[in-house]
């Protein structure tokens, strides 16, 4: 058999697997979270994620936008589990996307009313710019008069990405020192697009993140020295790294990291979450 023939045979893979391969990656946190959550979090000198026992969801009101048939703007408050109709909007630069907003808790007045842009592939051009730069890049969004008190999210599905789309919006509430990740699912049917909040994870932010991460950082330092690895926790992923590993002892953490680096398939599957956070920049031969 020749490799060309094998490539053709792979082309006959099962339909469900072909579609599944393109589905959004659910594990880990999207890296654009750093734009929102961390820009906000870093303004505050407190840290560490702990799941809340109380119900703080009401703090995180998310608004979805749709155009009615006569082109008037509908702004719809979203509630967990309830679908609301949405439509796409055109930005000044011609990009099409869905628009959501939430109350702006940003301390920096320069960031008020700014737009976060994201897509399901986290395209580099979207990642590359600063908040204000990204906002300037897309211009104004048709039909929407942006309010200074709101933070807008302009979501552009990737080219060719089949529905449902999924995106996570991180909101930080300074007043209650609480952050939440809201997972939104966008579906398409004969009535058009609809969005619903699929899941809300909220966290109270207490303690010093560096202090909390210290035992894990020590493990990484030791592995780096011992095996000549170059593992580090990026500044902007500290919270999510802590959140991913907080239930592990340093010994368990070390074991997982080693298994991870070893590429053990079974372990990789069961502990896939950790892959998304720690960066390995060990030079490859």
């Amino acid at each position: 058999m020749k490799s060309k023939e094998l490539l053709d045979l792979i082309g006959e893979a099962q339909d469900e697997y072909i579609l599944d391969a393109k589905a959004p990656v659910k594990k880990g946190r999207p890296s654009w979270v750093k734009w929102v959550a961390l820009a906000a979090c870093l303004c505050v000198a407190v840290m560490g994620f702990f799941p809340l026992l109380g119900n703080h969801e009401s703090t995180f009101v998310l608004t979805a936008y749709a155009l009615s048939e006569d082109n008037s703007l509908l702004s719809l408050k979203m509630e967990e589990g309830q679908s609301v109709p949405i439509t796409t909007f055109t930005a000044g630069n011609g990009m099409e996307g869905f628009v959501f907003s939430h109350k702006n808790q940003e301390s920096d007045p320069a960031l008020l009313g700014s737009i976060i842009i994201t897509d399901t592939d986290f395209s580099p051009y979207i990642m590359a710019d600063s908040l204000k730069g990204a906002s300037a890049e897309i211009g104004e969004i048709d039909h929407i008069d942006m309010e200074k008190t709101q933070q807008y999210i302009f979501f552009v599905p990737s080219k060719g990405e089949p529905t449902p789309y999924s995106l996570t919006i991180s909101i930080y509430d300074e007043e209650t020192s609480t952050a939440a990740n809201l997972t939104i699912v966008i579906e398409y049917d004969e009535n058009g697009y609809s969005a619903k909040i699929d899941k809300i994870n909220s966290y109270e932010i207490i303690g010093d993140i560096d202090e909390l991460l210290k035992p894990y950082q020590e493990v990484l330092d030791r592995l780096n020295a011992e095996y000549d690895y170059k593992l580090y926790i990026p500044e902007d992923r500290k919270y999510s790294v802590y959140d991913a590993y907080k239930d592990l002892s340093p010994e368990e953490f070390e074991k997982q990291i080693l298994e991870e680096l070893d590429g053990s398939t079974e372990e990789f599957e069961s502990n896939g979450e950790m892959n998304f956070e720690i960066i390995d920049i060990t030079p490859q031969n």
Partner: protein, 185 residues
Amino acid sequence: MEDKQIVGLYWAREESAIHETAVKYGNYCHSIAYNILQDQQDAEESVNDTYMDAWNTIPPNRPSVLSTFLGKITRRISVDRWRIRNAKKRGGDEVVLALDELEECVSGSDDVELRAQRNELITEIHRFLDSLPETERRIFLLRYWYLEPTQLIAEKYRFSQSKVLSMLHRIRGKLRKHLEKGDYI
């Protein structure tokens, strides 16, 4: 419009079937073609050929999953187009790389008998994919079905590129073993 309605238009020989297909799946097919051909014009031509192929094959086909039905056509047409083009000039490097990588899984010899066993081999590929853990299966298909660059896969999964490369190497090893076991190589 729902897939069923679009397929219905093909069966009714309504030309709007092609328009509706383009609206719903044009981008999807284009992204598959572009990954393979790395050229806008070639990708567009492959997508147009996909519509023609769909027009000619529905009926008699009545695909239950229209997206992958079209995707498979686009992939096949694009790989064929790449082969013709590649005979003349360089380009579409992801296919070259993928083919090099897949060399590890095959004997490299021209086996006429195997061609006659195509359906059997497809079943083997299905079994192999069934046997893979979810993440491995997704990454394998992103690389060898969608022909996505490993860097892009790494970004999607928040892995280092070297991790993706080593995973793919391991999966190819499994595929080789799987094919050896069935005496296909």
